[in-house]
């Protein structure tokens, strides 16, 4: 029995049990990770899971059931159970559920991959982490950590509307960090970010990072931070590096434009959104420099795919156009409820989890400036980069982020190193204060986006470049 056959059997069983719509995803995922500390391997882990997840609609109620049994009996049981759960849902029913139309598609898609990450010898991958963390440790890091992660996912999707799509997505990434322990606090520097840089690419991505070349630098910078002055508590001009901008976009734009949050579907856990659908198309989100794209088609970015987990093809569309809010991340059901004409942003963390609205690649279109130009044109301010902590309220308005490193800016030049840099603000006020944006865009990957109950971990991408913001409160501390 092929995986398409199993998915088809599950859908047929759900329909026979009374579902008015059903879809099934068979998934086979292999993952691998390795971590090293101070020149020694800390952990090597490989996981493999496979199973089928079936979604059924009965009246206005949804049901989802997942099991690892991929034979005909298991698949049919999954379909029947999903339909039964949907009937239970209908006992606490809402408005009639509709689904945005999605033309039936038969297709295959694969992410670009030059070097299969699972084909690279463990010993070679281990040598990279051992060598780089060993060098960082020798250069002064009390704790030099290195990490790589690999995911290899195959999906077979079938719907009762005729979709039949298989995809093969390979993702990987790596990074190192150096932590120094002081009398009363710790300091950390990382490359290229704390958990590393990730993409839907092969091992060539990790090779391109040249991690070993940065091992000594991060250790020395972490050590220097221990004795650096504290970031002052003040309101000033703030320039953010590209990696921190990726986090800023993720938290204060990406989650805010999720349609399920806007509709209240995540009210009890992840939260809602400050955005009001009635203002879609007119609300001023940020300055004219702020154009945000939802683009799952970027080759090699971590949030890319051929089709989402509802069988909707990947299409790029704007979320914020020259400062005006114009788009959302949506699925077929949420789009139908909201009267929006597109979905395409629904994914699940594996076969055993319900597909839900997730970010794809949500990023800033490049600006006209460079980081050097921004610094040169700033008389007084602070430059911060690489995220260290992040917190934002349940409406995605009030944020407070901490960075690994800060630098004073005086007279158009970088000055003293600053430790414990933090900044805080309110999303739309902050974005409206952005007056310079760099063209130096990198599609950063975020492999740890949590959402949903049971909790799901999503992989998202964020094209981002350095940017400058005015009148920002920095240096918040306890």
């Amino acid at each position: 029995m092929t995986h398409f056959d199993a998915a088809t059997a599950a859908v047929e069983a759900a329909l026979a049990a009374g579902a008015t719509y059903a879809d099934a995803r068979v998934m086979h995922r292999r993952s691998e990770s390795m971590s090293a500390r101070n020149g020694e391997i800390e952990d090597v882990r490989q996981d493999e899971d496979a199973g089928i997840g079936v979604r059924a609609l009965s009246g206005s109620g949804w049901g989802f059931f997942a099991i690892p049994d991929l034979d005909d009996r298991g698949a049919r049981r999954a379909g029947e159970e999903a339909a039964a759960i949907a009937k239970a849902s209908a006992t606490v029913a809402g408005p009639a559920a509709g689904l945005l139309r999605s033309p039936a598609v038969t297709d295959s898609w694969a992410s670009p991959c030059e070097v299969d990450p699972l084909g690279v010898a463990l010993s070679a991958k281990g040598d990279l982490l051992v060598t780089s963390t060993g060098e960082a440790h020798k250069a002064g890091a009390d704790l030099a950590h290195g990490l790589y992660q690999v995911w290899d996912t195959r999906k077979w999707f079938v719907s009762s509307e005729g979709h039949r799509i298989d995809q093969h997505i390979r993702e990987c990434g790596a990074g190192i960090s150096a932590t120094v322990i002081g009398e009363s606090e710790t300091q950390r520097r990382s490359y290229p970010s704390y958990r590393g840089q990730y993409g839907s690419r092969g091992w060539e991505l990790v090779d391109s990072l040249d991690i070993g070349a940065h091992a000594i630098r991060v250790a020395e910078e972490a050590r220097a931070l221990l004795t650096a002055p504290l970031c002052p508590e003040t309101e000033t001009t703030l320039i953010l590096g590209g990696e921190q901008m990726a986090l800023q976009i993720h938290e204060s734009v990406g989650h805010a434009i999720e349609l399920d949050r806007i509709l209240g579907w995540e009210a009890a856990f992840a939260g809602t959104s400050w955005l009001d659908l009635a203002k879609l198309g007119s609300l001023r989100y940020g300055s004219d420099l702020m154009t945000i794209m939802i683009d799952p088609t970027i080759p090699g970015a971590l949030g890319s795919f051929g089709y989402d987990d509802e069988g909707t093809p990947a299409i790029a569309r704007p979320a914020v156009d020259a400062g005006t809010w114009v788009g959302v991340l949506a699925g077929r059901d949420s789009a139908s409820v909201a009267g929006i004409g597109y979905g395409g942003s629904v994914r699940a963390d594996g076969w055993a989890r319900l597909p839900m609205v997730r970010m794809t690649n949500v990023g800033l279109a490049p600006g006209p400036h460079t980081l050097d130009e921004m610094i040169a044109s700033t008389d007084e301010g602070v430059f911060m980069d690489l995220n260290r902590s992040w917190s934002i309220d349940d409406k995605r308005l009030n944020f407070q982020f901490g960075c690994e490193v800060g630098y004073e800016i005086k007279g158009g030049k970088l000055g003293r190193l600053l430790r414990n840099p933090t900044y805080t603000g309110i999303g739309p006020i902050f974005w409206r204060s952005m007056d310079m944006l760099s063209s130096e865009t990198v599609a950063w990957g975020t492999p740890n986006c949590g959402k949903g109950q049971p909790l799901q971990i999503g992989h998202t991408g964020h094209p981002a470049a350095p940017a400058r913001f005015r009148d920002v409160r920095v240096g918040v501390r306890g």
Binding site: W62, F65, T91, V92, G94, L143, V476
Partner: protein, 468 residues
């Protein structure tokens, strides 16, 4: 896997396959976890997501010729076990040398696990939906959102050193809010039995809190005395547990913990308790992912830090014994997952009662009565550690904050952002009162449980309003 015997058999099969491939001298451990999780989720007062997954996972860890590798697989047949062993053996031969390998858990006696509550293990979608119906109805027309969850674990462990054990447990949890146009009111509870979840009582509490929180006023940032309800205390405990009482963080000197030092107020006694007395939905399993027996572990006793959680690797680094807190292969390290903060006195363990107004129960209301000027806080949200040594944390209030004046709740307050050291908040002299009952609370993560009373603390540093 249909039962614990089946799990032990599966683990034994895997060990046999390892011996056949690598010889009798190979060190191997196997964990078989059968999980049945169902979660009925509601929003806008109707069920919008409703799921169940049933799966068995086998995790194998091998140490061969000084090299270690771990692998896991979802079980779909005998051939999947053979593939697991073959892949792990291959990986272990290619893996870099592991000089920190701590060895396997030797044969040792494991206490009985909690056992699965049959009614919870067999709960139907209709039973969960009925509790959602009761919550929604009790919300009295306010918009309601949340979930009802049941989880069953059957876990078996075996290693090549001769350790073998198994156990099962169930958890049932309900967590929901009622919403006005300007406020959310929270009710949260967990137990080992679905029968203990009263959707109607929880919905009524959420409604009362939401109604009392409507039209909140902005309050100036600053330091306030606070009464933290058990739902907010849970965040303190989980954060301290994950970052401070974590044996890896301790070994790496990232933890604030100093063993033997009076770091907390004498009123603070914090335990890790796998068999939670109050039914907080603890893991209920008396062994960890390395087969090490679990016991009740005192982390803080009368304000003195006494222990941190260890697995075999961090224990070896610290020159001590594992406390049974391995979570399997994880770079995060061992954490205490079943935290219990002792309420005021053992004699006061009677169940608190529902009260009028925003306080969650009579135990919270009693602490409020002692506050001259301060805040009543339902919940903390999106808390992140700025530095693990100082345990300075930033986050926000959520689901209801009220001003307390002269022992009375006087007005609802809009959400606030805080930047506060959690260790300093509990330092000697800072705990002005502890509730009389530890409440079992749902965690976002099954298997992680909290039982906490309310706390009255001398000072909490609010650094801004959530709206600007």
């Amino acid at each position: 896997m249909t039962g614990m015997t089946g799990g032990i058999d599966l683990a034994a099969q895997v060990l046999d396959l390892v011996r056949a491939q690598c010889g009798a001298g190979t060190e191997a451990e196997v964990v078989v976890t059968a999980e049945d999780q169902a979660l009925t989720r509601f929003a806008n007062s109707f069920i919008h997501q409703n799921m169940r997954d049933v799966l068995t996972t086998v995790r194998l860890r091998l140490h061969v010729d000084g090299r270690t590798a771990g692998n896991s697989i979802t079980v779909s047949g005998p051939e999947s076990l053979a593939a697991l062993v073959e892949r792990t053996v291959t990986a272990s031969r290619l893996a870099p040398v592991d000089p920190g390998w701590p060895g396997l858990t030797p044969p040792s006696t494991v206490a009985d696990s909690a056992g699965a509550d049959p009614a919870t293990a067999q709960a139907s979608p209709a039973e969960r939906a009925a509790r959602v119906r009761a919550f929604v109805d009790a919300a009295g027309g306010l918009e309601a959102a949340g979930y009802c969850r049941t989880t069953t674990w059957r876990v078996a462990f075996a290693n090549s050193a001769g350790q073998s054990c198994s156990g099962s447990a169930t958890e049932a949890a309900m967590d929901g809010i009622a919403r006005t146009g300007s406020s959310d009111g929270l009710a949260r509870f967990a137990s080992t039995r679905l029968a203990d979840l009263d959707g109607s009582a929880l919905g009524a509490r959420a409604r009362a809190k939401a109604a009392a929180g409507a039209d909140p006023v902005e309050l100036a940032p600053g330091r306030y005395q606070v009464v933290l309800e058990p739902t907010a205390v849970a965040d303190l405990l989980m954060t301290l547990g994950a970052h401070g009482f974590n044996g890896k963080a301790y070994a790496e000197r990232r933890s604030f913990a100093v063993l033997g030092e009076q770091q907390f107020d004498p009123a603070v006694t914090l335990l890790d308790n796998p068999l939670s007395a109050g039914g907080g939905g603890g893991s209920g399993l008396m062994f960890d992912a390395e087969g090490t027996p679990k016991h009740r572990l005192g982390l803080v006793v009368d304000g003195v830090t006494t222990s941190v959680a260890h697995d075999r690797r961090t224990a070896a680094q610290a020159g001590t014994a594992s406390t049974g807190h391995s979570v399997g292969s994880s770079p995060f390290g061992p954490i205490p997952a079943n935290l219990y903060l002792r309420p005021r006195t053992a004699a006061d363990l009677g169940a608190p009662t529902e009260v009028a107004g925003p306080a969650a129960d009579s135990a919270v209301a009693a602490l409020v009565a002692d506050v001259d000027h301060g805040l009543l806080v339902t919940d903390n949200w999106y808390t992140r550690v700025l530095d693990p040594r100082t345990m300075v944390v930033t986050g926000l209030t959520r689901n209801g904050v009220w001003l307390i004046e002269q022992g009375e709740v006087t007005k609802p307050v809009a959400n606030l952002r805080f930047t506060q050291s959690y260790v300093s908040a509990l330092r000697p002299g800072s705990v002005l009162g502890i509730g009389t009952a530890a409440v079992g609370l749902a965690s976002p993560y099954p298997g992680i449980s909290i039982e906490a009373p309310a706390l009255r603390l001398a000072s909490w540093n609010y650094t801004g309003g959530a709206s600007g």
